[in-house]
């Protein structure tokens, strides 16, 4: 038997392999340093509410109007979206954690457009993911994984192909990646053109999160739920988890992170498309003004 490791006995180590919670034991020592880390902002308001002004909805933190990171006034075209953002702010506990306020982040991106993206650039960026879509790559070994992919991805790919009249590229070998079928690219571009400016930000965020346009389309079209969408994107991971076990502080955090982001994107796109008002604003184009359907 190896020399005793004191606190870290063999039993403890075997518990670790089962529960993956070694950090729980090191926390008490490391926590002393937390009070020197003053990077977190305290919750500086009591109540977040919404107000309406000129057809837009704003969020008020106590008496002050919420602003975006670039200093613009935070305003959204949809009441439900504003309410959800206010709820996000009210749900913060002692410290403000902006990393998990995905709806607020999406709205900030849409209002500020810090990268000065145009509709064309956004659509191109979204379509680009189709070429290396997560569900495009089937792996023949091991056969159980291949079967899992065929079973789960197969029906969704068919539904999406039928709904948009496109051809999803499917590859089973690591050969050169072919270019996107031009007819497919054109039909998808046309579909994306019909989305509002804000919805395009939502689509871009969604495809970047799960690296798949097919899964995003399935979710936005209500073919699948958020949970199923994320499950489909993590098929290989689930396969490995079944074989080797689940590591809570990696797998579960990743799962809930993907689910929060995708559900935020789905709600954001839906609420952005819901209001049907025509506004004249200069947004997403370098020319002085252009109208868009909100």
């Amino acid at each position: 038997m190896a020399a005793p490791l004191g606190r870290f006995s063999v039993n403890f180590l075997s518990n670790h392999i089962v529960s993956g919670s070694i950090l729980r034991y090191t926390c008490p020592i490391v926590n002393i340093f937390k009070r020197f880390n003053s990077r977190e902002t305290k919750k500086f308001f009591k109540n977040a509410t919404i107000t309406q002004s000129d057809g837009w909805y704003e969020v008020n933190l106590d008496q002050r109007k919420l602003r975006t990171p670039n200093g613009n006034l935070f305003r959204v075209p949809n009441e439900a979206l504003a309410l959800a953002v206010a709820t996000e702010w009210n749900a913060q506990k002692k410290f403000i954690n902006r990393n998990i306020m995905h709806l607020t982040s999406l709205c900030n991106t849409a209002v500020d457009n810090p990268m000065h993206l145009t509709r064309g650039v956004l659509i191109k960026s979204i379509l680009h993911f189709m070429e290396t879509d997560t569900v495009s790559f089937f792996i023949k070994e091991p056969p159980e994984l291949y079967k899992m992919q065929k079973d789960h991805w197969g029906s969704l790919i068919e539904m999406v192909e039928e709904r948009y009249d496109i051809e999803v590229p499917v590859m089973e070998e690591l050969a050169a990646i072919p270019d996107l079928n031009p007819a497919t690219a054109e039909k998808l571009a046309k579909f994306l053109q019909s989305q509002s400016d804000w919805a395009l930000f939502g689509y871009n965020y969604a495809v970047e999160t799960i690296k798949s346009l097919v899964l995003t389309l399935g979710l936005m079209d209500k073919m699948i739920t958020v949970e199923r969408c994320v499950k489909l994107s993590r098929l290989e991971v689930d396969f490995q988890i079944e074989r080797w076990g689940n590591v809570e502080w990696y797998h579960d955090i990743d799962l809930y992170d993907l689910q929060s982001r995708m559900s935020a994107a789905a709600l954001f796109v839906h609420w952005s498309n819901e209001t049907v008002k025509i506004k004249r604003k200069s947004m997403l184009s370098s020319t002085s003004s252009s109208s868009y359907v909100v």
Binding site: T225, D252, Y256, Q259
Partner: protein
């Protein structure tokens, strides 16, 4: 068509999440509370007339519930496993017996 029982369960679960976000029973003052209540009540009334909306509404209710639950679970796990964060530069220097140079601030 979403079964009435599922709608009830979605409604209850969304309210539960709101209750977690607003402790001390203040969730009734939450801006979202009245809206959620109205949506579910309207949906119940008109579910016979309109075919499309109840399915949509159930989907978005499920999505919003998933959002709130995932954010909460993520936050819980993160708080549980995050440890104390990084050491400051000063404490790192102190580890090896060094001090930071004096600056003119």
């Amino acid at each position: 068509m979403a079964a009435p029982r599922e709608m009830m369960s979605l409604y209850r679960n969304i309210l539960r999440e709101l209750r977690l976000a607003y402790p001390n029973g203040k969730y009734k003052e939450a801006p979202a509370y009245r809206y959620v209540k109205k949506q579910f009540r309207d949906n119940k009334r008109t579910s016979e007339q309109l075919c499309r909306s109840p399915i949509e509404m159930a989907h978005y209710a499920r999505t919003y519930l998933c959002y709130m639950q995932s954010v909460e679970k993520h936050r819980e796990l993160h708080d549980h496993y995050k440890g104390g964060g990084e050491r400051t530069v000063e404490s790192t220097a102190n580890l090896v017996g060094l001090g930071l140079p004096k600056t003119n601030h």
